[in-house]
Amino acid sequence: MAAKSSLLKVILLGDGGVGKSSLMNRYVTNKFDAHLFHTIGVEFLNKDLEVDGHLVTMQIWDTAGQERFRSLRTPFYRGSDCCLLTFSVDDSQSFLNLANWKKEFIYYADVKEPESFPFVVLGNKVDVTERQVSTEDAQRWCRDNGNHPYYETSAKDATNVAAAFEEAVRRVLAVEERGEHLIPTDTVNLHRKPRSSATCC
């Protein structure tokens, strides 16, 4: 049976320095580069994967987190299938800012039904010993703010990174299977092109 490979757009949001770019690179290239530059502008990487028998190409978008660059990054929110809200467990401020990131995303991505939109929360840098955010606090926030799945990750030692991204895919597929359209069909989706179907035996 030939299966269609679909393109999923996933966007990483969170304060500067929480490890968004490192997570993306860890997941796509399986490398951790401690010398990575801080992100300027907008970048994305593609990754093909199979989740529960579905072939998907995940397009992971990474942006610069500083407030000043908001007008640059927000146009890229549109058409996202999933949003990965990221903080760093050794930085309580980045945790407190999750709500703002979520709000910003919902506003600019023009999400019609924020309640059912798939968010996944990532608490990164769990390899660090001096934590400022406890697992319980993070889990509570996720529960109270829409029951989002929560993953504690480390881009440095690869803990849970693949699991978190795969969860994102599952969430999207689940929503689509329920026949819901995250993006109303009458909206022109500028940043998304149908991918030519890949086949698999």
Binding site: G16, F37, H38, I40, G41, V42, E43, R68, L190
Partner: protein
Amino acid sequence: MARKALVRLIRNRRTCLDFSYDVNANFTIRLAQLFSCLNKSGEKNKKEVRGGIQCTVSADERNVCFDLLHPQVIFEQEGIFIHSSTESAEDQDSLTAGLLRILDKDGDILVEYKPMEDTVDPSNMLCAGKDSSSVMEWTQCTGDRGHRLVEHQLSYETEWDMLNTVSFKRKQSTSGEGWHCSLDRSKGAFSFNVGELKSIMVKTEGWSRLVFRLREDSGMPALHFHQGGSEAFLDALRRFVHLVQSPNDESCLIVSSQNKALSQSFENLLDDATFGLVQKFKNDPYTTTLGGFSKVTNYIFDAFRGPELLHQQRPAEEVADLLSEVIPGLEVNQQEEPGFEVITRIDLGPRPEVRRREPVSAEDWTEHMDIEGKVQNVSHLKELIFKGGLCHAVRKEAWKFLLGYFPWDSTRDERKSLQKRKTDEYFRMKLQWKSVSEEQERRNSRLRDYRSLIEKDVNRTDRTNKFYEGPDNPGLILLHDILMTYCMYDFDLGYVQGMSDLLSPILYVMENEVDTFWCFVSFMDQMHQNFEEQMQGMKTQLIQLGTLLQLLDLSFWNYLESQDSGYLYFCFRWLLIRFKRELSFQDVLRLWEVMWTGLPCQNFHLLVCCAILDSEKQKIVEENYGFNEILKHINELSMKLDIEEILLKAEAICWQIESCKVCICMSHFILFSIHLPPLLSGAGSRGQQSEQSTPDLPLPAHLLQFLWGNPKANSVHKNNEQNR
């Protein structure tokens, strides 16, 4: 048979408004008016009004609105007040601001005043939503019959932004008085034919106040020129009416013979030298091309910001020669829209061969110093640096000049004392943040945020470079301290991501904290706008780059637009930090020193963008890259670019445009009647870039102003200022 010409306005690199006008029998007259306006009266006009075209530039210069004016606006000034209670009463005057104009409506000269509420009535505005950079306003055209043609233009519903549909709603015509005289007392609006004018009372008490007396006394309100401008208005009026001071009352100007001036404006044309030119225009190719010119013109118009009027006059033969030179380079497409002529291409001619030189050596550098340590022959030296860059050994010294930390004309001793002063100043500012206690910082969220981000970013800046390698590298501490001190130097801006990238090469070259700081300050003066809250510098540059791309290769530009990439997002990183992430570290040093010479034009970095895109466009178009792929492709060029190749191409593009400047200027000239460009022979200007820094060269300052603006601005003069 009526011909139609299409005028296409392009806003933010999008076609935003098309409208047509008849190239009818009056065409010659209109042209004549245009030239007459240029030759005779231009200096009296408000700069936005040029020969039947009103160009309204919003205060922030982002929004430009072109308006073919029928009637033609001869004078215009906003901020003229009427005091709506009686003129004499000082108490409780309510002020109404308004727009005063002199209009030429097919030979009828009208004075018109409209309160601002009218002109800024939301129903008279084109408004776009979220993105403020795409707001376009029509600041005129309320409902008067005389504005028939204007009405025609504005009846378009224009969809012009991918996010916003905007439409223009026209207010219903209220007054039907015609053009003799109308006075809407309730609002204070009035207009009258200058033929009706009997006298003007001019009173000056702090500001000037004018009261018009008409033949039929209709009791005009006094116009208060709180912001000045009454003289300019009277001067403009004097072209049409003869004003003489009343023998009895020196504050009264009496109209002696108004007819004379009226007819003059037309008749003079025919014996004027301009007539020959007008005749030429009547010939078909010229006439038909003319409508199309506007489109080309509009490619350039974003470049055309905040010009100062420079008026020069040229003999008509020269003008005519220029035109015939220009027009063969234009390609007119009649197919695109039946009945319209649209210029689809402007031929820039071939790109010249250019060469680069060896970098400036230590010997070259010292040769340019006199005994006191003053730099000799600065422009020649800059040229050498532009052509070859600097040997690394020279950089530490030369960059201080290039960046403007050291004035070029300073002696060694002067520089010593400057450095001493600057050292004290630096450490004073450094102490400021150093002495903030933890407790204080807890209450200062901005400082805390700056510090936290600086700490994070310093650890992520050029860490593969030997100079910044390894844990506890002392370079990182310096980067940190300098950036923190910069926050004290400019707390409003503080630290914005990208600044560490601009700093790191400077520290690498200077190897000295204080010198690095002040060189960085100078560099930041150039780059400041990129990092400001609204990122105005980025927006401006992206628009200017768009203008250039349209000019250089319209089909590539169209391709980008068709892929929703006309906003040039993909060039953001290039521009924000001047290619810092795109080139190898050594190449960044080379590019920056070349750029800092200010040669061969301002904003050379935009031509660097063009050069890179020129090499990539084939691939982008052939592979049919979409929005995402273009972004990805451009991002992935990082570290794969060859600086020397890019510099060669960018310089060649510069000369290519330069040699065609006449052409671009002419197209501009025709519709916007800016001053005439100097004659530039295409070949002669090449290789003579020093010409550009000759202050008295009459430059077509309005065109591609960001490249060839004020010649004095060619150097990084701005930085010299701050050392005073």
